[in-house]
């Protein structure tokens, strides 16, 4: 949902000031990401979208871009079969 991507972008844009982050842009390739941002990203996703990031979700690819984070949240919010 675009609203969700917007929220993710807003959060990430506080780290990447003066940079218009594209939805598919690799944030790790931008330099700047340290272990503290990695942890804050988990906290953000959990708080903002009310999901729990499990061990198996801890894959850098799940946090690589706005699209990737959106997909992770989407998957977690989807009703389990």
């Amino acid at each position: 949902m675009d609203d969700r991507k917007q929220k993710i972008k807003l959060f990430l844009s506080r780290f990447f000031r003066n940079h218009d982050l594209a939805h598919d842009e690799d944030i790790f390739a931008l330099g700047f990401v340290n272990s503290l941002l990695a942890m804050q990203l988990v906290q953000f996703v959990e708080k903002e979208f009310g999901v729990t990031v499990e061990d198996d979700d801890l894959d850098l690819d799940n946090f690589r871009s706005i699209d990737a984070i959106d997909r992770l949240v989407e998957g977690k919010l989807a009703p389990t079969p």
Binding site: M39, Q40, L41, Q43, E46, K47, D55, D56, L58
Partner: protein
């Protein structure tokens, strides 16, 4: 109804009545059970073991762990008040809560279901004591680069390495340990009865002398697969990072406790000692030092309260705010302790007054959980919460 009346209360800067009551209880308990003994513990380089039993009985070990997990379920601001009071009485006692709760919360957050079944409730109740096994002889600030190695063996792991500076390491039952597993930083919970584990007591350092420091020797130390915390490669970025985040919260409050202790010692001393025909507190330059201590300790406490509030609500800015609180509070503690000695004159340098201990203990707060310099290079890279 005016529009303003509809505005929600907004930023809370006052404690709730229950928090005040808890603070009163903590304060009374520390004055009775900690303050009278802190000097002796510092001199002997060890707190009384019976105090650990008492903390356990009161459910103050594992207090911030959720009640469903067997912990105290204490709200994080109340927990901060407890930490401040313990820090006011004795930084070594405060440091026991710091490291134990770091280990317990890590198991709660990152432990496998099997590990949680086995260890979480006993840790949350303080029946099993946890501690932090991160630093090594060659690795301090740059903790992600520990030299301890882990390798897969059968169903479990084998660890080899040397850890140093473990607070309450002489008595802990398990350690949150960081090691390199095929070059990827990975966290483990290492029980002290694991084969290949041994430890040795360290000489008490100048500050938090009573915290029973130990070195750990992991020589082919075998742990079960369920003792790995979090995924391989995420041991520093997630497991240790979140443990240190809690540690900073604890040290920040403990530092407020030191600053408060300095202030109280100085208010007493300057109200009884006379020089130049009047009480010290009647001299304007003395008043200036007291004012600095009063204002900065209050500012530090407010930063801690705010960090606590944000932690309670799970705000992603809580980590940054906690860092800021730790940075400010630890520097406030060392400045207050230095001024406290100055205000006590020669007496401040003797064992007859506690201010020398406050200075030694405050220095530790600027080194552990990320030194002052590490905070200075990290805080600008963080995104704090909106104010």
């Amino acid at each position: 109804m005016s529009t303003l009346a509809a505005v929600s209360p907004g930023m809370q800067v006052e404690l709730a009545p229950e928090q005040r009551e808890a603070q009163r209880i903590f304060r009374g308990w520390v004055d009775e059970h900690v303050v009278p003994h802190a000097e002796r513990w510092d001199r002997d380089g060890a707190i009384d073991r019976s105090l650990i039993d008492e903390l356990r009985r009161r459910r103050w070990l594992g207090a911030p762990v959720a009640a469903e997990a067997g912990g105290g379920g204490m709200d994080l601001v109340t927990y901060g008040l407890l930490t401040e009071e313990l820090g006011r009485g004795c930084s070594s006692v405060r440091s026991l809560l710091t490291v134990h709760d770091m280990a317990a919360l890590s198991v709660a957050r990152w432990g496998s279901p099997e590990l949680r079944d086995e260890m979480l409730a006993p840790l949350a109740r303080g029946e099993v004591l946890g501690a932090l096994g991160l630093s090594e002889p060659n690795v301090g600030s740059d903790a992600a680069r520990v030299e301890t190695v882990a390798r897969k063996q059968g169903d479990g792991y084998v660890l080899d390495g040397h850890k140093k500076w473990m607070t309450f390491g002489q008595v802990a039952d398990c350690f949150l340990v960081l090691a390199q597993l095929e070059g990827a930083a990975t966290a483990f919970l290492v029980p002290t009865d694991a084969p290949g584990f041994s430890r040795s007591a360290q000489e008490p350092p100048a500050g938090t002398r009573a915290s029973l420091l130990a070195e750990l020797h992991l020589d082919g130390c075998a742990v079960a697969a369920r003792h790995r915390l979090g995924r391989v490669g995420f041991g520093f970025s997630h497991v240790i990072s979140s443990a240190l985040d809690h540690g900073r919260y604890s040290v920040a409050w403990g530092s407020v406790g030191i600053a408060q202790a300095c202030l109280e010692a100085c208010l007493d001393y300057t109200a009884e000692r006379r020089q130049g025909g009047k009480l010290l507190r009647e001299h304007q330059l003395v008043q200036q030092m007291l004012t600095e201590m009063i204002a900065n300790s209050r500012a530090a406490r407010l930063l801690c309260c705010r960090a606590g509030h944000l932690r309670r609500t799970g705000d992603p800015g809580a980590t940054a705010e906690t860092m800021i609180a730790k940075y400010f509070a630890s520097r406030t503690a060392t400045a207050a302790a230095r001024d406290a000695i100055q205000l006590h004159g020669a007496n401040g340098l003797t064992d007859a007054y506690p201010v020398g201990r406050y200075l030694r203990d405050s220095l530790v707060t600027e080194i552990i959980e990320g030194s002052t310099q590490i905070q200075q290079i990290s805080i600008p890279l963080m995104v704090p919460a909106d104010l």
